[in-house]
């Protein structure tokens, strides 16, 4: 029998050294743990639909250059941090300056701050479940630290633009860590984009620690090119009465994987996870989410919609784990899927593990096609077939798009969706 493939040693070669010592030490330690890490295969349960899309070459092991011209002169209605190939570009960024708020590049931390951060990093994700995203901790060359003191409110949304320039093969490992103090509030937008056409990997990790009553909104737009494999993980830990809301809008690629793991660890916590994923051509997208109800009296609400056209392939795996002490948990998970062609594939799997007896837990998953009768009704009013298709497809996701709390993000989503419609629904 062929031995299971392991992560090539090339991926663990030491990267740039421009970080404070405590973080370099952490990176090294995390790297050591990954020696001979088996790569996911068809037999790896949480990668079974996606492992065939993973293509890691040794060329991809090198870090993409940390300097260059960022595409983005993009104006945003808020603060802006630009990562270029995993490294923050201060000139292209606009950092907030306010009392009670510390937002800085990992590279700019003093020894004490770095040591404190090193203790906190990598504490939100389940190592066994995220596999490849662990590579980020072994390879990050920079990161964004966001510390909100108790009661601090970030007055405008913070846009983090993650850009990769794929002029040569390689990888980028951006990282964000948010420590949200008691009753602090912020909105963080992550936008992933790319230029160039060589095969590259973006391996990105975002971690949230929410203290009592903190209220954080996270928007995530995945829009890289057809040459970019995206492996992302988001870890969230919520204490008493903390609220976390996430809105994901994702467009497919050769490989798109996002693990979103939320732990409700204090009573009264609440999370709302929305996702819209669109794939076409031979694209792929795989969302794996986990909500852990650890404490009692928490609410979770999750709504994901996949739309797959052509020969594309979307995967949704939603796990809800209600721990024994998590009485009075309220968990609601809903995943609806729309196939726009016979060649497209969608795999959906809700996983419920419930160990408490007094809980409310609802889940539903459906896979369907556009309704012929609705389509006929629309065209019988003179509406063009293409337009009717667009109306019905939008109807499938409109509710989620409308819930995105920032207009610019909604607009970006609409623009990209229109491109998708142009390519998917031909004029007749």
């Amino acid at each position: 029998m062929k031995p299971a493939p392991t992560l090539s040693a090339a991926f663990l070669e030491s990267a740039g050294q421009s970080l404070p010592k405590a973080l370099l030490d952490l990176r090294k330690q995390r790297g050591t743990a990954l020696v001979d890490m088996p790569l996911p295969t068809r037999k790896t349960e949480n990668w079974k639909y996606s492992s065939k899309y993973l293509k890691l070459t040794d060329e991809m092991a090198s870090s993409l250059p940390s300097q260059g011209k960022a595409l983005t002169g993009q104006e945003v209605p808020g603060y802006r941090i630009v990562f270029l190939n995993g490294v923050i570009q201060p000139e292209a960024s606009k950092f907030p300056q306010a009392d009670g708020i510390r937002i800085a590049s990992f590279r700019d931390l003093d020894d004490q701050e770095a040591a404190e951060l090193a203790d906190q990093l990598d504490n939100t994700l389940d190592d066994k479940a995220v596999q490849l995203a662990r590579l980020n901790a072994a390879r990050f060359e920079d990161g964004l630290l966001i510390r909100l003191k108790p009661d601090a409110v970030l007055d405008q949304p913070l846009f983090v633009i993650h850009e990769v320039t794929a002029d040569a093969s390689g990888s980028a490992f951006p990282r964000i860590f948010i420590d949200a103090g008691r009753h602090s509030q912020a909105t963080l937008v992550e936008e992933y984009r790319s230029s160039g056409s060589e095969p590259v990997m973006v391996n990105t990790v975002t971690e949230f620690q929410l203290a009592d009553g903190a209220n954080i909104t996270n928007l995530r737009l995945t829009m890289e090119g057809e040459n970019v494999q995206h492996i992302g993980a988001t870890g969230v830990r919520q204490q008493r009465n903390a609220r976390f809301e996430s809105h994901t809008v994702g467009f497919g690629g050769p490989l798109r994987r996002h693990d979103l793991q939320v732990r409700l660890e204090g009573e009264g916590g609440e999370c709302k996870l929305n996702g819209v994923v669109v794939t076409q051509g031979k694209q792929h997208y795989d969302n794996h989410t986990t909500i852990e109800h650890v404490a009692a009296h928490c609410n979770s609400e999750e709504t994901y919609r996949n739309i797959a056209a052509d020969q594309s392939h979307a995967v949704f795996n939603g796990r809800i784990h209600i721990h024994q002490d998590a009485q009075k948990s309220n968990a609601d998970m809903n995943n609806k899927n729309l196939l726009l062609s016979n060649g497209a594939e969608i795999d959906t799997k809700p996983e419920l593990e419930i160990y408490a007896d007094d809980v409310k837990c609802a889940h539903g998953a459906t896979i369907g096609q556009l309704d012929e009768i609705s389509l006929f009704y629309l065209v019988s009013r003179g509406i063009a077939r293409r337009e009717a298709n667009v109306l019905l497809t939008m109807a499938f996701i409109n509710e989620l798009v409308e819930q995105i709390p920032l207009e610019t993000v909604r607009e970006t989503a609409h623009t990209r969706l229109n491109q998708f419609f142009d390519q998917t629904f031909q004029e007749v």
Binding site: E372, I373, S374, F376, Y377, L378, V379, S380, R381, G382, I383, A384, R385, E387, A388, L391, L392, M394, A395, F396, N398, E399, V428
Partner: protein
């Protein structure tokens, strides 16, 4: 205006229409009555272009043009309008957006400029008043959660907005209370004009008191077995379909609407 000759149509291999002949001229109102399952909705859907039904024989022309060659949306743009017996609910598409898209598709077809959101809103509010639907229905999903009567009024509202040449009304009177029946018939009467024709499918004479037809046809077993003036409807009301040689249990009075 509309000429149907020897029209045969089937669904899933089963022949439903078995040779329909019908001539409708501009300005005329025709009523089609007939027992449940006789093919009235099938005829309506075939005229509108529903591909679930296969036309196996015959021809249909609209003002001399072969209707059967046209796609559904082209038929609509040429002036065919079907008020559905069971209007479709489309959650997620607002009624307003739907109506505006339809009106603008027609305007574009006629070489007119599209209406912007504000202009259309004004028009839509007027027309919704005309069919006694609160403007709040414009914001809701298309027919989503509308009552039976509200759906029918929404159909008439569409007819009023789209100003078709041939309006086919499939049981638009079913499920309406007296007041709604009045509203709907007023709407239909407002559509009546010299250059427009109306084909209405109904089970009830009461509608024909409000909208007086020029001709009444009885459709049974996929064929028009009798045609006459409005007095035919009164006769049917009185005697049922039995005297025409149709089984009693198939009569309109047993129709569960």
């Amino acid at each position: 205006m509309l000429s149907i000759k020897n029209l045969h149509a089937s669904v899933e291999g089963k022949e439903i229409l078995k040779g329909i002949n019908l001539e409708i001229k501009a300005g005329e109102v025709h009523a089609i009555m007939g027992p449940n399952g006789s093919g009235k909705s099938t005829l309506s859907q075939v005229l509108a272009g529903n591909e679930a039904f296969e036309v196996t024989e015959g021809e249909v022309t609209l003002n001399g043009e072969n209707l059967l060659d046209l796609e559904t949306e082209e038929r609509a743009r040429e002036g065919i309008f079907l008020a559905f017996q069971y209007p479709v609910e489309i959650p997620g598409v607002s009624n307003l957006q739907f109506l505006r898209t339809a009106v603008n598709a027609m305007r574009t077809h006629r070489g007119e400029e599209e209406m912007n959101a504000a202009e259309f809103m004004k028009l839509a509010k007027e027309v919704s008043k005309q069919v006694d639907l609160d403007p709040s229905f414009l914001k809701r999903g298309v027919n989503e959660g509308f009552s039976g009567g509200e759906k029918k009024r929404n159909e008439i509202m569409q007819a009023l907005l789209l100003q078709p040449k041939l309006a086919i009304l499939d049981e638009t009177d079913s499920g309406l209370d007296i007041d709604a029946l009045k509203v709907v018939s007023d709407g239909v009467n407002a559509l009546r004009s010299e250059d427009r024709a109306i084909l209405m499918v109904t089970h009830y004479q009461r509608l024909l008191n409000h909208i007086v037809p020029d001709y009444v046809h009885v459709l049974a077993g996929g064929r028009i077995i009798k045609s006459g003036g409005r007095e035919l409807a009164l006769e049917l009301e009185e005697k049922g379909y039995g005297w025409l040689g149709i089984k009693d249990e198939e009569t309109a009075d047993s129709a569960a609407n």
